[in-house]
């Protein structure tokens, strides 16, 4: 299937993603920040679809937007941050933080301008129908060890989260 209106969709989705990012770091209300992050995550899933990565897009929607953000919203509601909304939102070293971020931005620009000639010229032609199968072949073939380590990591995280949140250890 031929891609349609790529420029329009790219600018719309990346605009939504960056708008979501800006709203995350500027809202007073933590729930509004979480909703903005969900918007950003869904826009990123759209960008993954444009990059011919449907499996990663599906995993992003199921796990990130539908799992991790539910966890965040749960905790925000349990912690009940009414009082924190009236406090000062940005901390004392915000100028230093902005300067550091600006330096990082300058570094990125320098790298991209100098390094753009190192990119390969051709874009790989990956058939879209078998994307999940090929990702699975890599995942259970080359990266089997990392897969097992990741499952161990998740087990440790589950146990850790349960122990942390218990009332009496």
């Amino acid at each position: 299937m031929q891609p349609v209106a790529t420029t329009f969709f790219f600018y719309m989705l990346s605009g939504l993603a960056i708008l979501g990012g800006v709203l995350v770091i500027t809202r007073k209300n933590a729930v509004h920040s979480a909703l903005a992050l969900i918007l950003s995550l869904l826009a990123l899933a759209g960008l993954y679809l444009m990059l011919y990565a449907p499996f990663v897009a599906g995993v992003q929607i199921i796990l990130y937007a539908g799992g991790i953000m539910v966890l965040f919203l749960f905790v925000i509601m349990l912690v009940n941050l009414e009082r924190s909304q009236k406090e000062e939102q940005f901390n004392q070293q915000w100028i230093a933080g902005l300067l550091a971020a600006a330096a990082l931005g300058a570094l990125f620009i320098a790298i991209y301008v100098k390094g753009q000639k190192l990119f390969p010229q051709r874009i790989l032609q990956m058939p879209e129908e078998s994307n999940t199968q090929q990702v699975a072949v890599l995942l259970y073939g080359n990266y089997m060890f990392s897969f097992e380590i990741a499952s161990l990591l998740l087990l440790v995280a589950i146990i850790g989260a349960v122990v942390m949140a218990k009332k009496r250890i």
């Binding site: 299937m1 909703l35 929607i61 199921i62 919203l73 749960f74 509601m77 129908e129 999940t132």
Partner: protein, 425 residues
């Protein structure tokens, strides 16, 4: 100009192309996608209205009473009266509620409930689109509806909706895992062909069942059946229906997550709940019950049996029309019932006309897939109502125990055994 449009329409309809995405040109695929989406909207609205009436009547008959009888003949106009009442009710927003999130929550639930129907296959060429990651997309968008419920509970700014929303979303997230494992077992079965590649696309899954000449619910008996059973239980818990409706039934005792919503916004939650029920039933039908395939394709094959099964849609509509005419004769003979009797007879005439229309050969061939798919989903809807009338409600800790300690290990076991069976058989 008009003639070329007609030619274009006929060329698309009879070309056997798979979905609007594969039509000849971009405006054509956009147009056909919009037509399909409009049809899905209309179909869903009619289905939700019918479900409302059916639920009240069937529950009533299960409880040895009659249900709504007054509003139309046998209460047939009751859902319309309910919809009108909800539309003209006052829309109250609590004063201390968060306005944006309060407005956004029902929207999110409804949008996710309707978006899953993009990939639902009513036939081999009757889906809005056939994504390669169809089943992954459906699971993902259903998991987004949990967010809407959490937002609804929080935005109401009151204790009881918050607790109801937290319980409801905890339940939905837990049973999503069991659903995912059951789905993975079914997808595993699609890869048991000679090329060894399965597919995640919904149309591909039904075609794999057709190619393997067995519905996945009967494959590797009893593994397919157990996986189907896990999904059937998890989908009832996922949609917050009895016997897992503690977060909802709290509204009878204290309050649920939609307690502060009134009027049109409440009806959006209600609409989204029924649409979600139909959506997960469509997943179950597609993955295990053979989608649009008619029953007994192999045992009762051949032209005569095909003709017999092809007549069933028309016959079922004629049967419904016959029941309408029978109840017309049983209506009270009092003069104030004349309008209702006439209405019921008219409804019967409409059903009979539709039934006769379904006997005409072109329509008969075209409606086969859609009819079998809808009939299987209708069986699931009846099962939902039956569960509501029969089972007592689970307590919340029992609910979580079933989800995590019973369904999850059985799901993992079925997955492993299916993989082993797939390798050796």
């Amino acid at each position: 100009m008009l003639a070329s449009m007609f030619d274009g329409i006929k060329a698309y309809l009879f070309s056997g192309k798979s979905t609007p995405g594969q039509a000849d040109s971009i405006p054509a695929s956009l147009f056909w996608a919009l037509v399909y989406i409009l049809l899905i909207f209309l179909g869903l609205s009619i289905a939700v209205i019918a479900m409302n009436w059916l639920e009240r009547k069937i529950l009533a008959h299960m409880q040895v009473r009659l249900g709504p009888m007054r509003v139309g003949p046998h209460g047939l106009l009751q859902p319309i009266a309910d919809a009108l009442k909800l539309l003209i009710k006052e829309d109250i927003t609590p004063a201390a509620a968060d306005k944006w999130v309060f407005w956004l929550a029902p929207l999110m639930v409804v949008i996710t409930a309707f978006t899953v129907f993009i990939v639902v296959p009513f036939g081999p060429a009757h889906a809005v689109t056939d994504m390669n990651i169809g089943i992954l997309f459906m699971l993902g968008v259903s998991s987004l509806s949990v967010l809407g419920i959490v937002m609804a509970g929080w935005a109401s700014n009151s204790h009881y909706p918050l607790m109801g929303a937290l319980r409801s979303s905890a339940q939905m997230v837990s049973y999503e895992i069991a659903m995912g494992l059951a789905v993975v077992s079914a997808v595993l079965m699609t890869s048991l062909n000679d090329k060894g590649t399965g597919t995640l696309s919904m149309i591909g899954i039904v075609q794999a069942q057709a190619a393997q000449h067995v519905w996945f619910v009967f494959k590797f008996f009893p593994l397919g059946l157990i996986a189907f059973f896990i999904f059937a239980v998890a989908m009832v818990a996922e949609t917050n229906r009895a016997p897992f409706d503690l977060p909802e039934a709290e509204s009878e005792l204290t309050a649920g997550f939609h307690t502060e919503y009134s009027g049109f916004r409440w009806s959006l939650f209600f609409l989204a709940e029924y649409s979600a029920m139909i959506a997960v039933s469509s997943i179950a039908v597609t993955l295990w019950l053979g989608g649009w395939l008619r029953p007994f394709t192999d045992w009762l094959s051949g032209d005569t049996w095909d003709m017999v099964f092809a007549l069933i849609p028309g016959l079922s509509l004629l049967f419904l029309a016959g029941m309408c005419f029978y109840s017309t004769t049983r209506m009270p003979k009092h003069p104030s019932f004349r309008i209702q009797t006439a209405g019921l007879a008219g409804f019967g005439v409409v059903l009979a006309a539709a039934g006769v229309l379904l006997f005409v050969p072109p329509v008969r061939a075209w409606v086969q897939d859609i009819f079998w798919f809808s009939a299987k989903v209708a069986v699931f809807m009846y099962l939902y109502i039956w569960y509501r009338g029969t089972f007592p409600r689970y307590r919340f800790d029992q609910l979580m125990k079933v989800g995590w300690k019973i369904l999850l290990p059985i799901g993992i076991g079925v997955l492993v055994l299916t993989a082993i069976a797939g390798v050796f058989f």
